[in-house]
């Protein structure tokens, strides 16, 4: 089975700072692979292993995507090859635009199954997978928590809010997987060393098609106003302090 896993690189949320005016400072944030996308990569790799197939990676983004450490990081997780569409215009693209570019790129690849993460770790719109499948005109499903290959059929479990569906998918298909489908592997040194030798194909947007316009404009991105807190901190857990804290809790109820 030929499998494609998609990923997005995102600024590491841990290092996002808020400026005094409430705007965000992303400068100290390193680019990392989205944590939900690591799950998609892992799912693709495991599936390729059990189906004696192949797993390749596909991404679209700005020039940061071609950072060789990030490429090695992506390829150290089991996939054989990487394709990426790199263009500054894609760096700030919205989910529809990214999905369009990915759908165009997908036409250049042979695939049975495309696996996306549940959402990106920065915007978490959970839209690229469903949009990609719709735009590619193939079977599309989200919230997949288990994948089984039975002969030529792909059977998935889909975990919704109140029910679990067992679905058989006609291929090709695009699926988004939930985080409980697996725990992504930790790359070992031999995987990291091997990653540097794997083929990488870089396309520009015009190589695959074109970036559609967006009909939504960002007005502002600001940290939400926070509630002023009392900030009474007892620095040691003495009997007296515990009693004080208990009184604070009682008063707050």
């Amino acid at each position: 089975m030929k499998i494609v896993a998609c990923y997005k690189i995102v600024p590491d949320a841990q290092d996002i700072a808020v400026r005094f005016d409430g705007s965000l400072d992303l400068e100290r944030s390193e680019w990392i692979i989205g944590e939900y996308d690591l799950v998609a990569i892992e799912a693709a790799t495991r599936l390729a292993e059990v189906s004696a197939g192949s797993a390749v990676l596909l991404s679209a983004g700005g020039k940061e995507l071609t950072d060789s450490k990030l490429i090695k990081s992506a390829l150290s997780r089991g996939a054989q090859e990487l394709y990426c569409v790199v263009d500054q215009a894609v760096a700030n693209a919205d989910a529809f635009q990214i999905a369009s570019v990915l759908a165009q790129a997908l036409k250049k690849l042979e695939y049975d199954l495309v696996i996306c993460g549940e959402g990106s770790s920065d915007l978490y719109a959970q839209q690229v997978g469903p949009l990609l499948g719709s735009l590619a005109g193939v079977t599309t499903i989200n919230a997949v928590s288990k994948i089984d290959i039975q002969g030529n059929a792909v059977i998935v479990e889909r975990t919704l809010e109140r029910e679990v569906e067992v679905l058989q998918l006609a291929l090709p298909a695009v699926i988004s997987v939930t985080t409980d489908i697996n725990l992504p592997r930790i790359p070992q040194l031999k995987d990291i060393l091997a990653a540097g030798k794997k083929p990488v194909t870089i396309w520009s947007v015009s190589d695959v098609g074109a970036l559609p316009p967006s009909n939504v404009q960002t007005v502002s991105t600001r940290a939400p106003s926070s509630i002023e807190r009392q900030q009474v901190i007892y620095e040691d857990a003495s009997e007296e302090n515990i009693k004080k804290l208990a009184l604070d809790i009682k008063a707050a109820r």
């Binding site: 930790i186 070992q188 060393l193």
Partner: protein, 381 residues
């Protein structure tokens, strides 16, 4: 000159950090330290992440990598809070056996190392022979085609867990003790071996023992390297050991520094963070200088070894300097923490107890003067 880590080294360190964080070890280490138990669960997490395989040849299932990367990984683990004497990458033991061991010895030792198990405890120090190695009295006596070991070793780390003893003993073939030592590798469960635990002030997670050897029967094939060359082999072992253990000095110092500096920025006294006081800032600056120095020395020594240069002087300088510098950094970190630093709940108190032994073990800092001092004078002539 390039001070940047390679991308591969950075990614490997990221993997280490992920494995460490996933295993949720902080509380666990605290409990192991309190209960004096070896942190098996933590080791298992590192084995899953493939860390022990670093530096073991591919033919034995490992991943070949230079000593520099190995010390960086160990340093990072200690900086995250890994307990000393418990690291899973047995670079010294692996190097020993690859240099001097026979095929069969290599297979069994490397197989244990691959699984994060300390393959052997080194039987070198004896009650009357510490820095004065020539005073070693354990004997290896040949009789009826066998070799019998008799003697008493001490300060054997992990003698309760390590499957083998690498025992240094006098063969009785040369008057000059330096030309009389031989090394034997044999399982710790052989008849005639008994151990007794020492009650130490720190390093609670790794037991240290006295080992008694009474007519322990060995086969001549248990010999490691050449008969009578044991002392020379030991010196080679020490160069590597002195380098690799110093990653603990650098890492533990970083661990204490990180915690103390964060605290200095938060803890308020007299209405401002204590970090705003110059007496605290001076400590922080001097701690940082020592850390930078230690790290540079450590990396350079490993780099020299990787590039085939002699590290006999470097390893002694490194061992002496980092042992003292790390001790002073951790001590200052504890001082910055104040009373909190002295309670067992604070990790720095463990580092303070545990690091002290690095100024003693694997060659005291005084012996480092002895080994490097003569060589440096010779170098100047």
């Amino acid at each position: 000159m390039d001070f940047k880590k390679t991308e591969e080294q950075e990614l490997l360190l990221e993997s280490l950090r992920t494995a460490y964080q996933r295993a949720n070890l902080e509380e666990y280490f605290k409990a192991c330290d309190r209960d004096h138990v070896f942190p098996e669960k933590a080791v298992a997490a590192m084995v899953d992440a493939g860390i022990p395989s670093l530096g073991i040849p591919e033919e034995y299932g490992g991943t070949e990598v230079d000593l520099l990367t190995q010390v960086m990984v160990a340093e990072e683990a200690y900086a995250l809070g890994w307990p000393s004497l418990c690291w899973v990458n047995y670079s010294t033991e692996v190097d020993d056996i690859l240099t001097f061991g026979n095929k069969q010895q290599q297979e069994s030792v490397l197989n244990y190392a691959l699984r994060g198990i300390k393959p052997f405890t080194l039987g070198f120090t004896e009650p009357q022979a510490g820095s004065d190695s020539a005073a070693m009295a354990t004997t290896a006596t040949k009789r009826d085609g066998k070799v019998y070991i008799n003697g008493n070793k001490t300060f054997n780390t992990s003698a309760d867990r390590a499957p083998y003893l690498l025992c240094v003993a006098r063969s009785g073939i040369n008057e000059n003790p330096y030309k009389d030592f031989s090394m034997y590798l044999f399982p710790m469960d052989r008849p005639g071996i008994s151990i007794e635990k020492l009650d130490k002030i720190g390093n609670n997670m790794c037991g240290t023992f006295e080992v008694y050897l009474k007519d322990v029967e060995c086969d001549p094939s248990d010999l490691v390297g050449e008969e009578g060359k044991g002392f020379y082999q030991l010196m080679k072992n020490f160069e590597i050991e002195r380098t690799t253990i110093c990653s603990a000095n650098v890492g533990m110092a970083r661990c204490a520094y990180d915690e103390a500096v964060r605290y200095a920025g938060q803890r308020e006294q007299f209405g401002k963070p204590i970090g705003s006081f110059q007496l605290i800032q001076e400590k922080i600056v001097d701690m940082r200088i020592k850390i930078e120095n230690m790290q540079n020395m450590l990396y350079r020594t490993a780099w020299k070894r990787d590039n085939g240069q002699s590290i006999s002087i470097d390893s002694s300088l490194l061992k002496r300097y980092t042992g003292q510098a790390a001790f002073s950094v951790i001590d200052d970190a504890l001082q910055i923490m104040g009373g909190i630093g002295y309670v067992n709940d604070c990790r720095i108190s463990r580092l303070w107890r545990d690091q002290r032994v690095y100024r003693i073990m694997a060659g005291t800092e005084e012996i480092m003067v002895h080994t490097a001092g003569r060589a440096l004078l010779k170098e100047a002539l």
